[in-house]
Every structure is written in C-alpha cells, then in structure tokens.
Symmetry: C2
Subunit: 153 residues, 2 copies
C-alpha cells in the first residue's frame, strides 16, 4: 500500500533535513554547507522566510520523514492588471525517492496553493544544466517561454 | 546638457503614468487596461507592493516626468547557504526615450540596490519574443543560464 504524502509549512526542526537534501544534489553539493552545527545563515534565512507572509517553505513528508521541499513566493505586480504571481524555487526531493513522483506532487500542490492565493501565473526557472527538468516541468503544463537570466554579485 | 535621471520609490500619484507605460508596449498592449478611471486592481496591487518591505516599485524620472519603471523583489532562500536574491520584473521605459540608455540605468540602479540589500544574485526572466532583450541583459552582465517557465492559471 502506498504511503501517504503530506504537505506542511516547514518548522525550524525541519531545517537540518532540508539543507541535507539541498546539499545532496549535483549542483547543490557545490554551493551548500551541510555540517553540524548547521551554519547560522540557514537559520537566519529560515526566520526571514517564516516572518514573510508572502513566502512559504513547504515540505513533503511521509510520517516523520521529510522527502521533499520547495519554496513558494507570492508577489503582487502592477503588470497583468495588478496580478499576483507565484514563484516556485528550491525544489528538491529525497535522492532515495527520485523518480517516484514526489516532485510532481510537490509542483501540483504549489499550483493548487497559487490558485488559492489568487495568482494568475505560476513561474519558475530551471538551470539549463538540469537536462531532465525542462521536460518534467513541460509535462506539468509549464511553457519555456522566457529566458531565465542570472547575475552573480 | 543631458538632463538628470532620478530614481525613487513610486507613489500612488505615479500609478497612472506607470500603467500608461506598461500598456504602451508590444506585449503589454494585449494584457493591460489603461483607461480612466484606472481599474481598481492596479491600485490594490500598488498598495500590496508598497505594504511589502521586500518589494520596491522604482520609477526613473526627469523632473516631474516618469520615464521608466521596474519592480524589485527581495527574497530570502535556504539555497546558497541562506542567500537573498533580487528579482527584477516589469521593466519598461517611456517609448519616446527608448534607445537612450534609460533601461540600462534602471537595471544598473537595481543591481546597486540588490548589493545594498545583501543579495548574492540578481535575476529576471525575459520573454523569448522580446528579441533585443536577451542581448541587452547580456551586455549588463546577465547570463541566460536558466529556462524561464510559466504556467497560466
């Protein structure tokens, strides 16, 4: 019998598991620092996210185990007649469960949440080096209509 | 003598000029409604932006005239060791002044502001139909490393 996946707002106790997941990734391993104690910058960022009503850090769980994470940012814009957008970022699933549909369920959850919050658009950017990601998001209904441009400071 | 461009947070009195500029654009003309009185949805979005300390709607002015606009969103993330990002959106310049470097000055201003706010990255997406925009942003130092994916709700 398939175990039930639940979605909830992340708590401070979840940050360790989340960072472990972020670091256990081809690109993430080069830029994260998963060590004990966890660098304080992660905890400060968690507090900033939690204090912002327009940001939600969502974890997917099976029982007590965290198996996926994503952050959703809700932003009001003047464009599109003053429309709100949802931006999904930092999507990761537990490496032991990749290919089991957890990522799909995360994104579908985010799309529902974006509708609840009255957004007219859901958006995300995906690194062109993540070869499978483009097809994954296209299957979920996204269109690669834009260039995602980044400038490191 | 070149007139001085100044940058400031938009006020409610600026919304009319901003929406006029958003509508005076190849893609914007299909999705905005510039009419009198201005649809209330624009004013509600303006209030939501203004009430959010992580969103700044910036106008470029020469004297009392508004000649450009952009919105900057500052977002805390767990990724990159708890780094903040700045996202630029809704960049438009007055059609009478296009090609005069106003866009460049807007983006350069946003990059400085992102540094002030402690961001490690500035990001934006640009519609692949805006043929000149990719080169414009590349000249300002951005890399088209990501696909910008959108899903309309």
């Amino acid at each position: 019998m398939e175990e039930k996946i639940e979605f909830k707002l992340a708590t401070i106790e979840d940050v360790d598991s989340i960072v472990k997941m972020l670091a256990d990734d081809l690109l993430g391993s080069q830029r994260e620092r998963y060590e004990q104690p966890l660098p304080e910058s992660y905890l400060k960022a968690f507090q900033a996210i939690t204090n912002d009503p327009n940001n939600e850090l969502i974890v997917a769980c099976i029982g007590a185990e965290i198996i996926g994470v994503q952050q959703i940012t809700f932003t009001p814009y003047l464009t599109y007649q003053g429309g709100w957008r949802a931006t999904i970022e930092g999507v990761r699933t537990s490496s032991s469960l990749r290919g089991k549909g957890v990522g799909t369920k995360l994104i579908q959850w985010a799309i529902c949440r974006a509708k609840e919050r009255g957004c007219h658009l859901v958006q995300l950017t995906t690194d062109k080096k993540r070869e499978d990601a483009l097809r994954f998001y296209e299957q979920l209904g996204f269109t690669a209509s834009h260039e995602g441009m980044k400038l490191k400071l």
